[in-house]
Subunit: 148 residues, 2 copies
């Protein structure tokens, strides 16, 4: 078993940790009859009062045209609703429906349980430390507004 470049490459470690642990949870989503993009949208909408398509795309780490289509499908299946809200009439507000909320609530509980399991071997202090490191990494690497 040779030592390979990617084994200590930060981007690989992040991608592998994210992928492995997310996949664990995604298997549980089946119990809630939710697809991954649906979960991401509903979780984002769960504790605010609506977001625009663009905000959702950013939150759910998707491109904007992808999010438009995800919202199309979720609107068809009654999980969310589009509604003009803001004075800026270019934006489109997306709101969770009663049915959407019903479906996401159980998944949210499951997410908290799953997170606790993942962190079961960590002390509270270690958990905080881990999350702080990730938040620092994120804030230091926020996407720059596009420029050529």
């Amino acid at each position: 078993m040779t030592e390979r470049f990617v084994d200590t490459y930060l981007l690989y470690l992040l991608a592998r940790a994210s992928s492995d642990i997310s996949n664990q949870f995604h298997r549980r989503l089946k119990n809630h009859s939710l697809q991954v993009p649906e979960w991401r949208v509903l979780a984002s909408l769960s504790d605010g009062d609506g977001m625009t398509v663009g905000e959702l795309a950013n939150r759910a780490l998707q491109h904007q045209p992808t999010m438009t289509k995800i919202i199309d499908r979720m609107e068809s299946s009654g999980l969310v609703q589009r509604r003009q809200g803001k004075p800026d009439r270019r934006t489109v507000g997306v709101f969770i429906t009663t049915e959407g909320r019903r479906r996401v609530d159980a998944a949210l509980e499951d997410a908290k349980v799953h997170e606790a399991e993942v962190l079961a071997n960590y002390s509270a202090a270690e958990t905080v430390r881990l999350k702080e490191m990730l938040m620092t990494l994120i804030s230091r690497n926020e996407p720059q507004p596009h420029q050529d």
Copy 2:
């Protein structure tokens, strides 16, 4: 700006950090005329002597049928080559070609430079600590062999 569930959710922090930082690097890949899956495969193959399709799928965090198709495309464009190697004749070895190596070498240098930039504000000790935490997280959450 309300505090939302996902803002402190471990899976979200991992996905966001991975996504933001990976996207930074993926923009640089264009300079090397490499697509993301091509980069992942070539980086995986760069310092060994061939891997099977299954090993590559695992390394590159892709499903096996997806990897089969990635290899199809990369073989067409001359970056890798399929070759039976092992005694187990079910497996198919994938090897980097001279052209593949030529293309990946510059990208590898760039990856190291980029990683150094991302970690510029971290001391050596902090860098080690961050990577160790990720490696621990990974080893504690390795995918279990499938069972029903």
